[in-house]
């Protein structure tokens, strides 16, 4: 099992600020909705870059890159790297590995389902369903929502789905915290030049959380 890496806060901040700059400087009169989408895109991209290469960051960037409305903002943020990155994230190697695993699971399940069907064809007899099949079906039903929520989760199962979900939750929480502090800083700087004393202890708490995470 991989150790949860430290969420690179400086990378996140740098990437988000770049994204905000691009969102702000798009010359055509831009609607609030478009600016908001552009900011959200920057934040998600920043989160994925700050976390590094995992299954869900790969799936997230792929998903973001495929949407037509995101392309102009992405080009602005990534610049020359846009072509290279989009090529990498349109043909994911990770997916191929996972899909190979998925195929074997499907064939395994198919043979058991065939056996189940054969046994259930005899009316009146008790159906002998393999417990592993039942367990797997139950697990699939329970994790259906989680699979939809975690990017790239549809192809994962069991412990890998859980570890990806855990990682995703940690990164989401960090993303929210950083966006909150950014918003507070923007508010303060737009109103007056008061020192950010109230948020200083919060920043220290973030730093200690990061240290704790990296020690795990």
């Amino acid at each position: 099992m991989h150790v949860t890496k430290e969420f690179k806060k400086k990378t996140f901040l740098k990437q988000l600020l770049l994204g905000l700059h691009v969102s702000n400087s798009i010359s055509n009169p831009i609607s609030i909705q478009q600016r908001k989408n552009s900011i959200k895109l920057s934040a998600d991209l920043a989160m994925a870059f700050a976390r590094g290469r995992t299954h869900w960051t790969h799936a997230l960037i792929t998903k973001l890159g495929q949407k037509e409305e995101n392309k102009s903002t992405l080009k602005g943020i990534l610049g020359r790297r846009y072509e290279i990155l989009m090529a990498r994230y349109s043909c994911p190697l990770l997916y191929q590995k996972v899909q190979r695993r998925k195929k074997s699971v499907t064939s395994y399940r198919f043979s058991y389902n065939a056996q189940k069907r054969r046994s259930s064809a005899l009316k009146g007899s008790c159906v002998r369903v393999s417990p592993s099949v039942v367990a797997r079906n139950l697990e699939n039903r329970r994790t259906k929502v989680l699979k939809r929520l975690v990017p790239g989760g549809e192809f994962l199962n069991g412990s890998s789905l859980l570890s990806e979900a855990l990682d995703y939750v940690i990164s989401l929480k960090a993303q929210v915290d950083m966006m909150k502090s950014l918003w507070r800083a923007t508010q303060v700087s737009s109103s007056s030049n008061v020192e950010l004393v109230p948020s200083a202890p919060l920043q220290k708490k973030d730093a200690s959380c990061t240290i704790a995470n990296s020690e795990e």
């Binding site: 099992m1 901040l13 600020l17 905000l20 700059h21 969102s23 702000n24 400087s25 609030i32 600016r35 908001k36 989408n37 552009s38 900011i39 959200k40 934040a43 998600d44 592993s132 329970r142 994790t143 929502v145 989680l146 929520l149 975690v150 069991g158 412990s159 859980l162 570890s163 979900a165 855990l166 995703y168 939750v169 940690i170 989401l172 929480k173 993303q175 929210v176 966006m179 909150k180 502090s181 950014l182 918003w183 800083a185 923007t186 508010q187 303060v188 700087s189 737009s190 950010l196 948020s199 200083a200 920043q203």
Partner: protein, 85 residues
């Protein structure tokens, strides 16, 4: 063969479950022993949804703020204030 595989990853799963329990706020209230897998999954899903909603809301607020700002001075102020703390 699947039984052997599940025995190896059982420790992993327990570790993951305990980590998830410590992160997700709702499941921290009830004792960790009583939390069932289904409940934990549900709480995790709700937590992820609420975090995503927060990101959405923050993007809204940031876009409102940025709309009324001059670009360069905003950048400089933000960076200065964030790096000073």
């Amino acid at each position: 063969m699947s039984r052997r595989r599940s025995r190896i990853s059982e420790e992993e799963i327990n570790e993951l479950i305990s980590k998830l329990q410590s992160l997700v706020p709702e499941s921290r209230r009830c004792g960790s022993n009583r939390a069932s897998a289904t409940k934990l999954l549900k709480e995790t899903c709700n937590y992820i949804k609420s975090l995503q909603r927060e990101v959405d809301d923050l993007s809204d607020r940031l876009s409102d703020l940025m709309a009324g700002m001059d670009n360069n001075s905003a950048q400089a102020d933000i960076i200065r204030s964030l790096l000073s703390s």
